[in-house]
């Protein structure tokens, strides 16, 4: 927008704002301090008439920076939705009148609060720009699907149905993945009583009949470059030919590998042929095809079989899996039925420590197994003794006794290891990194990472999507269902978390929908979840950049590559607009059009700081817009009071907080600063992965700065706030006021 900036400030008198505050005073503040060219009041700003009043000014008066002094920025977003203007909001309702008592002696401080919020919104407005397209956008409706199992095929069929062409890249020579190897699958519909046909043939036929779906068998991805909307993938066949195709988004459904039972010598696996894994039993059942299942050693028809649940799983032992694979209890019930349905006299015992049958029909299926006479014994196996018939030694936990049980065959429920590819760079050890660097420098180096990459991403941060707990390629499941930490790449099925066939298919539908949204958003230049529809993107001033690479390292989504001459290279459509790079940059050269060092820095400077003897401290709160700010709003809705000395500025993520904001506010005379971010750690809730963690780390360095200013370190506090901490937030603020009372006002008030 080349037009000159024209701020229009609109003050709402509804919702009690008009009764509690002096609106002509507010208007004066907006025009005098805020330099608003236009200022109007309305009794009901979010009404049709109120919105029209604003729109008229935009259309006829040239207002292009709108400041609303009304409710929280989280309220009435549909009404206050104007095109081609910047929008700033002074939160007079949730931020002022709802958190302050309606008493005469409070009027003055309440009014001061409101005036400050107007000054802040105007200051922010002044430094915001209207986001313009970056020119990077491109619409590409093609979806790349890595993996041709049921999850991959489901994703392809669903996306194709919605009109998006798909390409399935499958490593093996046929579609169907693990499910194709099953004799039958766990039932997926009522009454959930019997194993079901695995359904793969029909699905493969549907995929093959779909002209919108291209299948590349015996193929892998040897390089995946680009970003959502413009991924370029090298699809290489076994024979060595490579084709490069462009895609808008990616679904990774690379499945799982059965845990290697050779790591369980205690169960005589490998020694006794009649000790098999669940997958091996599937093969035997396929062979029997409804007839009696014969055991591998001598072909004898099995008369008794025992299933050892959690074999090498849910255990902290070296080499074991820590997780529960979730599907194996139901799988053992199903497999016991293979025997029982053929001959009810076969003895089938499922030895479990906790029987878990997730899913809608799980419990019914368990009952059905019981009805068919499968014996469920709660116990823990310690050993399988090799012999003509294997003997299982276990402790019966209900009867509290040790048992030796000889059976014809033992099945080990060994669980899933995700095919998640290589660990990301952040997950590597120092040695790994050194090796990689050495190899890049041309040295002959054997890289220890012996896992094949799935996507071979051409990202600075690693070849595959980052792994989470136990190596699964998931993201935070509450904040980002189906997502990974790589925008536009969605994992589905057991590569994301352990699951059975039906769950993998449901999962794939979700991932396909997400992929479609990502491709479309990339075309429009819009951000992905959670800043959906944000059109701004980070840019940097090359002149100032010292090439420290902090931004490239700290971006949680791998959005920033490095150019050959060492500068950051932003990939707009990989970016989620968290601002972490902005907070990380020590020379402050990164900014967004609508969020920058200045949009926040000028707000905090716009606050009127009374002098030391006024006994009116000022507390600055930088609150994460995802959880802490809503918690503050909800505290207000509950009419929980907090100090009138508080000034709150929402930030995109604590990771975006620049140290300069802290030093600036100390220098301008704030008495205390509170940072509110999301919980970190194993159960982190940060929408941008590690924002509060980074803020905590950065703030630990603030101590020195405070010391050099001779300020107490209690003046800056960082808190982890969940969205539900409604009662905690006012307390934290009021405690800060108490602290200031004790340690005294800041001497930096001029």
């Amino acid at each position: 927008m080349a037009d000159e900036m024209k701020i229009g400030a609109y003050i709402c008198n509804g919702c009690g704002i008009g009764e509690r505050l002096d609106s002509s005073q507010l208007e004066m503040t907006a025009t005098r301090d805020g330099k608003a060219a236009v200022c109007q009041q309305h009794d009901f700003l979010c009404s049709e008439a109120g919105v029209k009043m604003i729109q008229d000014d935009i259309d006829n008066e040239g207002v292009n920076h709108v400041v609303l002094a009304a409710c929280s920025r989280r309220a009435k977003t549909e009404a206050f939705n104007f095109d081609n203007v910047t929008l700033s909001r002074a939160n007079l309702r949730e931020g002022v009148i709802w958190v302050r008592p309606d008493e005469d002696d409070q009027r003055e401080t309440t009014q001061e609060m409101a005036d400050d919020y107007i000054r802040m919104a105007c200051a922010e407005s002044k430094y915001m720009k209207i986001p313009e397209a970056s020119g990077q956008q491109s619409v590409n409706k093609n979806i790349l699907i890595a993996g041709g199992g049921v999850a991959g095929m489901t994703a392809a069929l669903e996306a194709s149905k919605a009109g998006y062409p798909c390409t399935i890249v499958e490593k093996s020579g046929e579609l169907g993945g693990a499910t194709a190897k099953l004799y039958k699958k766990i039932p997926t519909s009522a009454p959930y009583a019997d194993p079901e046909d695995n359904g793969v043939d029909a699905m493969v036929a549907a995929v093959e009949a779909d002209s919108n779906i291209t299948v590349c068998l015996n193929s892998t991805l040897t390089n995946t470059a680009g970003a959502p909307g413009r991924f370029a993938a090298d699809i290489s066949t076994e024979s060595g030919s490579t084709e490069t195709k462009d895609f808008g988004a990616i679904v990774q459904a690379s499945g799982f590998t059965e845990y290697d039972a050779n790591q369980l010598p205690e169960f005589a696996y490998g020694k006794n042929k009649d000790v098999v894994t669940q997958m091996e039993l599937e093969a035997l059942a396929k062979e029997a095809d409804g007839g009696a299942i014969k055991r591998p050693s001598d072909g004898k028809e099995v008369q008794s079989v025992l299933f050892i649940q959690c074999a090498g799983q849910r255990s902290k032992k070296e080499g074991h899996l820590e997780h529960c694979s979730g599907y194996c209890c139901s799988a053992s019930i199903k497999q016991a039925m293979y025997f029982k349905d053929q001959n009810a006299d076969v003895d089938t015992t499922v030895l479990f420590s906790d029987l878990r049958t997730p899913g809608a029909g799980g419990e019914n299926f368990y009952r059905s197994g019981q009805k068919k006479g499968v014996i469920f014994t709660k116990g823990i196996a310690s050993e399988v003794v090799d012999g003509a018939n294997p003997t299982v030694k276990f402790k019966d936990l209900i009867l509290d006794e040790d048992v030796d049980l000889e059976v014809d065959m033992v099945v080990l429920a060994t669980g899933m290891v995700p095919n998640a590819g290589q660990p990301s760079r952040a997950e590597l050890t120092d040695q790994d990194n050194e090796d990689i660097a050495a190899e890049k420098a041309g040295e002959e180096k054997e890289i220890r990472i012996d896992v094949e990459s799935i996507l071979n991403l051409d990202y600075r941060q690693g070849k595959d999507v980052p792994h989470m707990d136990n190596g699964f390629a998931d993201s935070h499941f509450i904040c980002f269902p189906y997502e990974t930490q790589r925008t536009g790449i969605y994992t589905a099925g057991p590569v994301r978390r352990p699951m059975d066939t039906q769950q993998a298919m449901d999962d794939a539908m979700g991932a396909a929908m997400k992929a479609i949204a990502a491709a479309e958003n990339a075309g429009l230049g819009k951000a992905a979840h959670p800043r959906v529809a944000d059109l701004s993107f980070p840019t940097f001033r090359a002149e100032g950049c010292t090439q420290c690479k902090r931004c490239t390292v700290e971006c949680p989504f791998g959005a920033i590559n490095e150019t050959d001459d060492g500068y950051p290279e932003f990939n707009e459509s990989r970016c989620r607009r968290c601002g972490t790079c902005m907070g990380a940059c020590p020379v402050r050269v990164i900014s967004f059009e609508n969020y920058s060092i200045d949009t926040v820095g000028q707000q905090l400077k716009a606050v009127d700081i009374p002098d030391e003897f006024d006994e009116k401290p000022r507390i600055l709160v930088l609150a994460c817009e995802n959880d802490a700010y809503p918690a503050l709003d909800m505290a207000a809705q509950n009419k929980l009071e907090y100090s009138a000395f508080t000034r709150i500025i929402p930030v995109r993520c604590l990771g975006s907080v620049s140290l300069s904001w802290i030093t600036d506010s100390m220098n301008s005379g704030y008495d205390g600063i509170i940072l509110m971010g999301c919980p970190s750690g194993d159960d982190y809730q940060c929408h941008f992965v590690k924002g509060s963690l980074m803020a905590q780390e950065r703030m630990s360095k603030v101590g020195d700065t405070l010391e050099s200013l001779s300020l107490e370190k209690e003046r800056v506090q960082t808190y982890e706030i969940s969205i539900t901490d409604i009662h905690k937030v006012p307390k934290i603020i009021n405690e800060m006021v108490d602290t200031i009372e004790q340690i005294g006002m800041s001497p930096f008030k001029f």
């Binding site: 003895d347 009952r367 009805k371 006479g373 014996i375 469920f376 014994t377 009867l399 048992v403 049980l405």
Partner: protein, 207 residues
């Protein structure tokens, strides 16, 4: 499997479970127990049982035939129905307890000195005679079931209650000689006989 076949039942094989299913009232429910322990936790007497219901069910599935059938546990059941009300799997636990006790009796391997078993027998014999419970004789038989000396002691201890019941008309000395019967005693006897025939046929069938 025959009633009298007390032969080898293999561990953790289904044989004993199948025997229970065939012979014990509501026995085919045993396999449906999911071992949650709610019944054992709900049973007012559970802590006094050698093997509370949940454990009995697991023992049946583990093939512990003698230990189960010779156990005093199911004889401890007071038919309070707490367990049935609470069992998430809706097992008719109370009935299974009595079924197990009854089956053990049929096999003749029930625990001999178990007092509730003895009382149950006295009660049945007393009731089956006239179709009505003769409280006086039931009391007398019960008190003296462990011999004369013990009986006198118990009877004296209960004298107060007995006198109270006499006064309230809940007990009549006339009961000592003959006592009251159901109206159609002959019909009653025929009914019992028929029931016993049916039961015997059922047992035969199961064998």
């Amino acid at each position: 499997m025959s009633d009298l076949n007390t032969g080898m039942v293999e561990k953790y094989r289904n044989n004993f479970l199948k025997e229970v299913e065939a012979n014990v009232e509501e026995g085919d429910w045993v396999k449906m127990c999911m071992q949650c322990g709610v019944c054992s936790g709900s049973c007012p007497l559970g802590t006094d049982w050698d093997h509370p219901p949940q454990e009995l069910f697991m023992m049946i599935r583990a093939g512990k035939r003698e230990e189960v059938l010779q156990s005093t546990s199911m004889w401890m059941c007071t038919s309070c129905y707490n367990c049935i009300v609470r069992c998430p799997r809706e097992l008719p636990i109370t009935h299974i307890m009595h079924g197990l006790a009854h089956y053990a009796t049929r096999l003749g391997i029930e625990p001999k000195g178990q007092p509730t078993r003895q009382f149950a027998q006295l009660f049945w014999d007393n009731l089956a005679k006239n179709g009505r419970v003769n409280e006086l004789w039931l009391g007398v038989n019960l008190y003296f079931m462990n011999g004369l000396v013990e009986g006198v002691k118990v009877a004296l201890g209960m004298a107060g209650i007995g006198l109270g019941m006499l006064k309230a008309g809940r007990l009549s000395l006339k009961e000592l000689v003959g006592g009251h019967t159901v109206k159609d005693k002959k019909g009653f006897k025929a009914m019992i006989k028929k029931a016993q025939e049916l039961e015997a046929a059922r047992v035969d069938n199961a064998q």
